[in-house]
Amino acid sequence: MTSFQSTLDDDEDGIAEELAASQREISVAEFFEKNKHMLGFDSGARGLVTAVKEAVDNALDATEEAGILPDIYVEISEGRDYYTLIVEDNGPGITNAQIPKIFGKLLYGSRFHAREQSRGQQGIGISAAVLYSQLTSGKPVRIESRTQDSETANVYELIIDTDTNEPEISAETEVSAAKSDLRGTHGTRIEMALDANMRARGQLHDYIKHTAVVNPHARIELQEPGGELKSERAEEASLPAETDEILPHPHGVELGTLIKMLAETDSHSVSGFLQSEFTRVGSKTATGIIDAFRDEHFGREMRWRPPADADLEATVADAVANKDATHTAVFARTVADAVRDADSIAPAELGALVADAAADAQDDTGTSFGETVQANVVAAVRDALTSDRVADVLGPVDEATTVQKDDATVRGLAERIAAKFESDGDTDRVTRDTLDEYVFRAAENTAEYADATIGETARENVADALWARMATVPDDPPNTSALADDRDAASDLLAAMASVSVMAPPTSCLSPIEADQLEAGLRTEFDADFYAAATRDADVHGGDPFIVEAGIAYGGDIDSEGGVQLMRFANRVPLVYQRGACATTDVLGDIGWRNYNLSQPGGSGLPQGPAVIMVHVASTNVPFTSESKDAIANVPEIEAEIELAVREAARELKSFLQKRQSMRKRQQKQDVIMDILPTMAEKVGELTGRGGVDVSDSLARIMNNVLVERARSDDGQTVTLRVENHGTGSVDVDVTDIVSAEPDGVGDDASVVAMDDEYFVQWTPAVAGDDAAELTYSVDADADCELSVSGVADARLTVSEADT
């Protein structure tokens, strides 16, 4: 089953209609009881998570809409009979009048039909939680609200009338700010008692933690009997961009939706309908779609070329009877010239051409060439045009077949195709399917008689070449109401819409987290060594634009045992249950993670290691596998984008891991060489009797290292720091010599800072590969120096402080 929305739109027997129809027959309570598993309230443990989720989603929406950075407080306490759930936000507060809207009827949320990204997409949210509370505890929900700049807070007690499905305020009091339970100066606090337990603590914590990752701009605090969980706001995190509502996109609608839209539109013409009911369709795109519809629906007409030796003027003149000979000649010449100019011409085009010529001739000569005459002329010219169909078909056929085909085969094929046109009567009008059929049959016959093979590709090429030569017909498309009644024609329109390229839908309706914010979210929640995030460009599924984002955190404190943690999100809402049923899980399992340096036993399935992978799908309509909104459905377009987003982030991870591995190898190499070289030097010193020898230069060269060496002149007063770069790329090195006496003769390229009797002499030379820089200063011979070098990875740095 797909989402509620498409079910509602497409299927006359959809749940919503069924629900609406049965409202008077069964109570909402009864409906809820029947369907609570679909709504996420099938057990006390899960019911609590769902209630928290709905309330927090609501709170986030309320604050964001008011342009306030969300501060959400969730408290769960265990009472004697029930659990109490409190969710408080720092939103703008709500008024009495807004209550029915917010706690409106089940499934009748205001967002239900909007093509705009929002958390509570399906409108079953908070009202279902309220109902669950009411049905399990029998107590009303307590709502406390204080609007901005208000001195007092309002407390409401609310129940949902299960007969009418309407929210009812059972008690309303005003309390002073001092007596208010609200933690801030404005906001809404919902308190509900419900039958619950904490068996799903893990999922609850996951939900809060994951919510924090995708809402780096929010501060979320959870207090529950077993402890607390706080997620701070990421630094510099801002509110998500506001979203706009948009119309459906031509590439995304399904046939049922299209027929429904056709039936409901105010537009009469298809062009008007396309432009007013779809996003990204202007008159040009509409014309393109209508032309494509003509091709689909009516077919195209073959253009024929008059034979070179045909005397068109005579043909026209003969067809005109009883007119002034001179005037007829003018008309005939006009027609003949126009036909020759057009090179090849289709019947409909010919009709228009003859009509034009008749009008011109009438202007010139005053003689009227009426419709009967025109029809005669058209018929006569068409006879001339179609006298050698083979010649006309031969051209495209010859071009489209490979040179290996011999002339007889090509000619045979052309003759047979031409014969199909001939036998099909006057119109020369065929749909693409019919054309394919012509080519297929002609190819089969040719193959049989000429003993030659004409493969699939050749047939397709021939059909393509012929189709390209044919003319789109000028027939008007049916109007919208006719189309709404004609399923086949509507299907042609849908195909036409799909075949024309249309600009991607505007993304103003979407509010992706954006890669940098996503990374910030991961940083606040996970202490890792590496973070990467990627946001894809918007794409479309089912007329709804969507954006996929992915993020990866790796290493650090992340648990390295077992599989990676997968966090799934839809419209900034964490998906906690049904991981195995989710498209995200499928896509990740199909990626070859070994290519990205993560281990993946068996080469498929979720990878293993200390990593967190998150995927966020933002859309005006996220397709879920069920109404409890736990798993994203396997929609190919979305799956493809998930894969691309994850791969994009994974590529960064790969290069990080490779770099880390190569640094590690390098460190190991350096460790061994650092052990070997001095021993070797000592030994050769002994053997040759020449004494000790410094190995740091050799070492730096072996390790492609940056070598920083200090040398002091014989009198000890001139200090030279030599920076040698034995690598290939250029490096920017921060060199600081900490000197115990005031240095002198420091060049302009250096800065000197005095601090607690020590002088920090600092340079930042850029040293090219295989090059060296020398930094000098003078100082008292007794002064002590200490080198500090940064800007180069430790593994690549050799510092030699040998004083001479």
Partner: protein
């Protein structure tokens, strides 16, 4: 050997220390320590027209401290040079195997050898780089040279003084044991007409039992598989100093041809010493593939590895003669090999009475 031992020792020591000096200079210049060696592979041996033997070509491999492997090798080299120099200083000697075990006592774990083949090879490397022979480092192989039987009188310098030995009259059935360094031998006189090197012990015993050395005035040298350096050196000296023709009698299979090859042309592993060890004039008696056909000998079929070895010999520059191309081609053709002992199928005396006299006459030795 006219030079005194002391000057030999000093020279060997100086040559070794030159390697250390080179490393020292490289460190002092801030260079990466390295050592160049000829590439020791089949593709890099070439024929030396003057000496008539196969030596290493121009292709060089550099062993440098740029890699962990190279650095370890160089460290081991330095430790080995230290050990050898000390040994020369003290006038002592040791075996290759002792060197391997001795490395266990070195304080630096990275310098210790992983197995004996590594230390053996390193000593050969040092021979090449220093231009000094292993024997002059006072390094001995574990197993000594093979045994000689024949009408030859010689004098050997031993630790217990000089001994005069006749290789028939003064020795038992086993023959005279070639010392590790055959250059300590002086030849006094001989009645021999030629030298016959025999691959297998069984065949040597057969020849001695049948009195072949007596009957044909032959010095029978037992090769015992791939001949030790000392055996090859002695054979060369018998040829060069006593001007005796040298013949080689082996099994009829590709591995035995390589035994002949190392006697006659020098081995790939010790091509740097070919001039000192190889006897290019040595002639191959058999068993030739031709003999398998001519004498209709009992045979075994060639195994896959035999075929590979034969094919590899066809590409070996040392075997690029008409004789070997033809014989190896024939062997691949008949797909058979035969042992020396296969001649016993014609009777125990067949080899001494018929086969060898016929072959030697054919070769112009008799």
């Amino acid at each position: 050997m006219s030079e005194t031992h002391t000057s030999d020792e000093t020279e060997a020591r100086d040559q070794l220390l030159a390697i250390a000096e080179q490393f020292y200079d490289q460190f002092a210049d801030g260079d990466i320590p390295r050592m160049s060696l000829p590439t020791r592979s089949k593709s890099n041996i070439e024929y030396d027209e003057d000496a008539d033997v196969w030596v290493y070509g121009d292709s060089q491999s550099t062993r440098s401290a740029n890699s962990v492997r190279g650095a370890r090798k160089l460290l081991k080299s330095v430790y080995t040079v230290d050990f050898l120099a000390q040994q020369l200083d003290e006038g002592r000697s040791s075996t290759l195997r002792e060197l391997y075990y001795l490395s266990e006592s070195w304080d630096e774990a990275e310098a210790q050898f992983n197995d004996q083949s590594e230390s053996d090879k390193l000593v050969e490397d040092l021979e090449i780089v220093s231009g000094v022979k292993r024997e002059d480092f006072h390094m001995r192989p574990e197993e000594s040279g093979a045994k000689v039987m024949g009408p030859l009188r010689l004098r050997e310098q031993t630790r217990r003084g000089d001994r005069e030995i006749h290789c028939q009259e003064d020795v038992g059935q086993g023959g005279y044991q070639i010392p590790n360094n055959p250059d300590t031998i002086d030849f006094l006189d001989t009645d021999a007409d030629f030298v016959l090197c025999v691959e297998t012990g069984g065949m040597r015993d057969r020849l001695v039992e049948n009195g072949f050395d007596d009957d044909y005035n032959a010095i029978v040298v037992h090769l015992g598989g791939q001949p030790a350096r000392a055996t090859r050196r002695l054979t060369k000296r018998l040829h060069d100093e006593l001007e005796l023709p040298v013949t080689v009698f082996t099994d009829g299979d590709p591995w035995s041809y390589r035994i002949y090859g190392s006697v006659a042309y020098g081995s790939i592993k010790s091509a740097h010493l070919s001039e000192y060890l190889a006897t290019p004039q040595a002639q191959f008696i058999g068993i030739r593939p031709q003999d398998i056909v001519d004498y209709d000998l009992p045979t075994d079929p060639l195994s896959d590895s035999d075929v590979n070895a034969l094919e590899s010999e066809l590409e070996d520059p040392r075997f690029q003669s008409d004789f070997w191309t033809e014989q190896i081609g024939l062997q691949l053709d008949i797909d058979k090999k035969a042992e020396q002992q296969a001649l016993a199928s014609r009777g125990l005396d067949f080899v001494t009475d018929t086969y060898l006299p016929e072959r030697l006459a054919e070769m112009g030795v008799l």
